[in-house]
Subunit: 469 residues, 2 copies
């Protein structure tokens, strides 16, 4: 009786489970699709654009007069659209130009090779085979050159394809010139269709993407730094919620590949919006790599944040205010830099944030010198002091980012925007600085044991606070 009921339960259970599993899968896919659309609605637009381009070029096939002039070659237009249409204008243009130029070059070379082989008579297949082998091997090897791979990889692929195609089929098809001519023409039609649609219908510019990505990465680091101080120095027991803004920086650690490919696409793009042709995209890569260096430091800060060993709360409370203000100023400076990039305008307020951060770093250095740590277990001192020293390093890093951003601004002619800080606010900043400066006068520490250390003293804050020089 029991066995039977178990079996009975099993049979419908199996189907029910299968059904539930399928339903869960469908729900899962729908959720994923919704997230993809929500993250970037242009994905849907891109899909529709590809469909549109493909439908338009297939008219060559459907429309009698056009079909008469191209015949079966019309299919190359369809193929070109499928393989050339990419998400961004730059990628589409790059692939289109690569495909066009490579087809022309390889076609011409293949016709030459074909004529040369023709002269030998009997040995034609052997010579043609040798040519195909040689160009395939050489072109394939050339694809390993990093610079060529970045810009002309697709072109070399098409070169191999077209050369083999034309020279091999030339052995049979007598109207080789006509074949090449038709193919080039249909490829041009397909390529032009892709380029026109990708530029005209809601264009996605790789350059603008790179521009925004760099600004976004800065903002992510800025968010972390703005929130870090409060998070790290909070009284234990305070709520530890809404930490998502502290995780944003992780995406920056691995953004090198996407930045580089966007920069490679961007060079193909014509002037668009606020970007001229030959906008200094390489400068973005330099800034991006500095941002990543800054992100590595933030990874260390995050390590301090989540470490079990948090160190002396006494020391923490002593450096809390200075660290929090440095961290906030760094965050604000990064966000201002990001805003400057986004709006393509130089703001003097950025400089003031960096100055504040540098000032704060100096103040922190003074604080660390002032002997607040005496008679406390060094192990308890290390964690907060590590945080302080990483923050001082971050200030340094952000200063470098600002320098590179200044270079970018001068190359790309960013607008100059007058300070938006009101006079009262300015004064407030000034007075708070001097107030703090006064409250922490340099206290000389008893140097009895550290003769070698004190001899190194003059170099102390030198490299970290260029203001001194």
């Amino acid at each position: 009786m029991e066995v039977e009921s178990l079996n009975n339960e099993k049979a419908p259970g199996f189907f029910a489970r299968g059904w539930r599993c399928l339903k869960a899968k469908v729900v899962d896919i729908t959720m994923n699709a919704k997230k993809l659309v929500k993250d970037d609605p242009r994905r849907v637009i891109h899909s529709l654009k590809v469909g549109l381009a493909l439908t338009l070029v297939s008219i060559i096939y459907y429309y009698q007069p056009l079909y008469k002039s191209f015949e079966v070659s019309g299919i190359w237009a369809v193929m070109t659209v499928v393989v050339v249409f990419e998400f961004s204008v730059g990628a589409t243009l790059g692939k289109g130009i690569n495909r066009g130029v490579a087809t022309l070059l390889a076609g011409a070379l293949a016709i030459g090779a074909h004529h040369l082989a023709d002269l030998t008579g009997q040995g034609e297949p052997i010579l043609l085979g040798f040519f195909v082998f040689l160009q395939a091997a050489i072109s394939t090897f050339m694809r390993f050159f990093p610079k060529i791979k970045a810009r002309y990889d697709y072109g070399l692929l098409i070169f191999i394809l077209t050369f083999s195609f034309v020279s091999v089929s030339g052995f049979r098809v007598d109207e080789i010139i006509e074949l090449a001519h038709k193919r080039v023409l249909t490829i041009l039609i397909g390529g032009a269709m892709c380029v026109i649609i990708s530029i005209v219908v809601f264009p996605v510019w790789a350059g603008e993407e790179l521009h925004n990505l760099i600004a976004l990465n800065m903002e992510k680091l800025g968010n972390f730094l703005e929130g870090f101080g409060d998070e790290y120095f909070q009284v234990p027991g305070e709520s530890k919620e809404k930490k998502t803004f502290l995780e944003g920086y992780k995406a920056v650690l691995n953004s090198k590949t996407s930045e580089e490919s966007l920069a490679n696409f961007a060079v193909w793009e014509p002037a668009h919006g606020r970007f001229k042709f030959r906008h200094p995209w390489k400068q973005y890569l330099k800034i991006g790599s500095l941002i990543r260096e800054c992100a590595y430091r933030i990874e260390s800060l995050n390590g301090c944040l989540i470490a079990d060993m948090q160190g002396s709360s006494e020391i923490k409370s002593k450096i809390r205010e200075a660290c929090t203000s440095v961290s906030k100023d760094c965050g604000k400076a990064l966000k201002e830099l990001a805003l400057a990039i986004r709006t393509m305008s130089q703001r003097s307020s950025t400089d003031s944030h960096i100055k504040n951060a540098k000032f704060g770093a100096k103040r922190l250095t003074t604080l660390l010198k002032s002997g607040i740590w005496e008679h406390i277990d060094l192990l308890q001192v290390i964690p907060p002091v590590t945080v302080a020293s990483i923050l001082i390093d971050v200030v340094n890093c952000i200063e470098k980012i600002a320098e590179l951003e200044n270079e970018l601004a001068s190359i790309a002619n960013f607008k100059q925007v007058k300070p938006t800080v009101s006079p009262e606010k300015k004064q407030e900043v000034g007075s708070s600085q001097s107030k703090i400066h006064c409250s922490h006068v340099i206290i000389t520490v008893n140097d009895d044991e550290s003769s070698s250390a004190s001899s190194a003293n003059p170099n102390l804050s030198g490299p970290r606070n260029k203001e001194d020089k």
Copy 2:
């Protein structure tokens, strides 16, 4: 007179400069090519393999009996070879299978769509156009799903291509079934040619590449850690040469993309060499991401190494021995782990290195507790102490790597190798440990000022030295 002589100098100068420039360019390219070959001689072999495969499939065109059965469709074999042949077996297989399956599926669907459109009579082009639009839009959108993009991106591209191709050309060519049949057959021939040549002639297995890359990355970090101690604590004035081994870790920071693509290729590969089908490639990605985390810490260590502010040489000399030994043990442990992966065998000597490193970290913690830093300017204390605390963190990280490596070893059935350490050596390690342990007894620091700090004391070395638990 002067002007003339200037012009005279200019004219030959211009050509001479042009010639020199060209010569420099050629020399530059040759050097680059030589470097590419030296770095990985398989690049030349790959190029020759592509040439060979292409020449072999073009025989379909040259050889009369074969040409009779395939006619112009033979060109699809050539195209397949050009686009499918990749550097590794996995990538080639993945592309080949994607292309084959997508062609079959899309071909069948397109024939169905064609028949359906046929029934409508007059509206055929419109309905076909609609189908092409719909499938292109849906397939393009599907390419945005990260999982699909990683494995089936090429398949979806070919799906769009074949569906458009067959359904569009079906409008004209009546022998649509025969066309599809020939195309599938030639694609199979081309694909099979690629797969066979890539497996038979000096195969490059993506799985093995991933396996070696992970081991290599470990070795790079190991090299850094082994050399770090001597480099950081060297007496100023000692030669600062041959630092190349200290730069190797930088490549690890950005290896995520290549690891992931290798893992994606590896799943397509059959059993090869020491790797079974369904070898746990995902485990390598987990290890790889931990290795990167360790690399971020090493980036911080490198920052300490090149910093202008080196801190108190007194403190440095006090912790020199302990830090150097932890760093060396970490390096050895990583290199042992790398060796274990390379040889696919578990060594008990690895555990002993990790134990040593953990022991060293504990010793370092004790040292830091022992008040060696008293009466020294904190700013002078920070740099060496930061190094020490990062090293303690690195030990923690390497322990986690070892855990994941153990998991990998048990899933992939690594061989067990008996310890290779000779008894004398073992004793030596033991005695040096106890000697050091004795020389640095825990000195209680005067806690008068840090009541809150001392209350946190029990947790001190807990999280960093799991041995305690």
